[in-house]
Symmetry: C2
Subunit: 385 residues, 2 copies
């Protein structure tokens, strides 16, 4: 079992109508609020008006139009707004992209330089504005962790940033806010959750406890994602997916385990940096191919355990179990209705070389669960066509 | 799925040698430290000297001799010390009893009145001294939750207290510090962990995710407790039990579920209030009898799920599975070497009436997982003889 330092101090308000507590939540931090949101779905579903009604005593400034793969430009804009208006608290209303963008705004206000420098060089700040989130999509877990992933379209880079300061102070999780999420986004979000869990499950030096908890969380996604896709207002399904998303990415399920080095996210980030594909869709396409590539004598027993503990396969050899588990994973993603090839997204091989080069920059995929050379990453991408 | 508010902001430093960070941890809060500990095992295993060496620049005052079922007298003494010496931070070094006692000291300093009044009437304070813990026994989970259980020997009462202010700021969890815990205490601690998990597992309105995580955590105890009893310095077993203890009691595994109302702890608290038995031993004796009493048509499917998910029983009817699961639970406790009857502890029925009366005060066992009348509690205690 490995050493760790763990802290996840976000206050989670979970359930129907928890937004009613927003005034007291915000009042703790001040009156000047930067409201961050995306393409405007919060205007259609009424949350926008609700926020304004609840915060009628606050001064609200807006950072709107944050893109699904949030761009550094939005952060630059948000930081300028915070400085100009002396913002007290950042309020992110949306999915992971909005929250990720808001995290970099919250820290970037205190960074003396361009925020892309801060992100790409992993520079830490002394402090950050307090961040409050209202979640509208179960996917990234950004509502309960400190991480953000930001894209720079000029350099085709998508880079992670985060530290204790960018952990939300309060997150309001109302599953009812995800009832209006379309089936495709629900599917993609669920695949993102599952991918975060697989990333931890396929790691070295696993604990017995983490194995159990991760398998259980993966099974929860397998159990409820199809329900939420079919019945968008199924409260139980939406609630379980939302809370699973929050626990899937903040480390609580795998403390004490070795670093996984599961490279699905790293490879997919290149895909969405180059083509702006929905993150969960990219993951669905890559994951089964990656798994087949990673299945070897060393990893066989782990994949077999995955087959038995997650997919309930019994009475077969390790090899059969492992192969069936990967097939089941692919069938599950397919059943959710997402495109399962790059061709279906009109993506060809023209940037594979650059993407593979970039995914493995600084030799980081040489420390993956199964080390990957640039050529291997290209081979995996070819399998995805 | 039910609404919830959740926050567990304790910073956990887990692993060998994490105590080396103690100086910087304490320095954040001040220089005047109240060191709380129990019967002196920390002097024998060297932690006491280590703390003094590390905190050589601090002013340390001592609250020593905290009893296994911590008594309100110790709190009175600790509060007086804090006031007299203007203590900045409370440092609890020990198991759950020491930490529980320290929590009530930390809050009680700011309570204008006797701390038993604060505890027994659940009075809240405006603030509390910051609490840092160094754990030496995996059992209660007090290192990662806000709760304390305090005994008043004058009234034979054992009552819970706690709120956000009594959550430890930092907990240092070094599994190596539990290598010297004797087999009997290791067994009792493991049973306490398992009991916290059962308390959540047998509840109404369970989520799929919680079912999976709780079953996984219970299986972790079943897997590693016998190892730790036999091989006291098995790092993996000690580590997994320690981290499971921390997660077992702070609610993270069962948020969104209904309140369990599993009354093993309530009944056992009477036992240890009257006879000062080791808490985990009391739980081992009570739990299988309680389970048999609670098994009925309404709860059958839940007990059967327990049998299948936790004990891996397959191919049997619900009834057979449920009954076998209870038998397996009893066999497991027995295998750990704890006494399994009250008679073995020289406890007779003379106080059963009073204990049953007290366990069910304010009608609280009428809201148990299976509602229990006073007569039923007495019947369960009789079964334990």
């Amino acid at each position: 079992m490995e050493d760790f330092v763990y802290q996840a101090g976000t206050r989670v308000l979970f359930g129907k109508g928890q937004i009613e507590h927003l005034p007291e939540v915000i009042a703790k931090f001040g009156k000047k609020v930067l409201l961050c949101y995306g393409g405007g779905s919060i205007k259609r579903n009424g949350i926008y008006d609700k926020v304004y009604a609840l915060l009628k005593d606050c001064e609200i400034y807006e950072l709107a139009g944050i893109a699904p793969n949030p761009r550094i430009d939005s952060d630059r804009e948000g930081i300028a707004l915070c400085r100009k208006h002396n913002i007290d608290v950042v309020l992110a209303v949306g999915g992971g992209s909005v929250i990720d963008c808001a995290k970099v705004v919250a820290a970037g206000v205190y960074y003396d330089g361009d925020p892309w420098e801060m992100v790409s060089q992993g520079k830490q700040t002394e402090k950050a504005l307090p961040l409050v989130t209202i979640l509208t999509l179960a996917a990234t877990g950004s509502e309960y962790d400190d991480g953000a992933v930001i894209t720079n379209p000029e350099t085709n880079e998508k880079i992670g940033y985060g530290n204790e300061l960018t952990m939300p102070k309060v997150s309001i999780l109302d599953p009812a806010y995800t009832y209006t999420v379309p089936a495709k986004q629900t599917a993609a979000g669920s695949i993102d959750i599952m991918s975060h869990l697989l990333e931890q499950y396929f790691g070295p030096d696993m604990t017995y406890l983490a194995d159990q908890m991760l398998a259980g969380a993966i099974k929860t996604v397998i159990h409820y994602a199809p329900v939420a896709v079919k019945e968008p207002d199924n409260a139980q399904a939406r609630g379980e997916l939302m809370w699973t998303s929050s626990l899937a990415c903040n480390g609580i399920l795998s403390q004490g385990c070795g670093y996984g080095g599961w490279p699905a996210h790293a490879i997919e980030h290149e895909l969405s940096a180059f083509y702006d594909v929905t993150h969960g869709v990219g993951l669905a396409i890559i994951t089964p191919r990656l798994m087949r590539h990673m299945l070897n004598d060393d990893t066989l027993s782990r994949f077999a355990q995955y087959g038995r503990d997650v997919w309930g396969i019994v009475g077969k050899s390790d090899k059969e179990t492992a192969e069936q588990a990967i097939d089941e994973t692919e069938k599950f993603f397919t059943s959710l209705g997402v495109p399962m090839t790059l061709s279906a997204l009109n993506i060809g091989e023209e940037h594979f070389d650059e993407m593979a080069e970039h995914a493995g920059r600084n030799g980081r995929l040489l420390h993956a669960y199964v080390p990957l050379s640039k050529e291997e990453v290209k081979a995996i991408l070819h399998d995805c066509l």
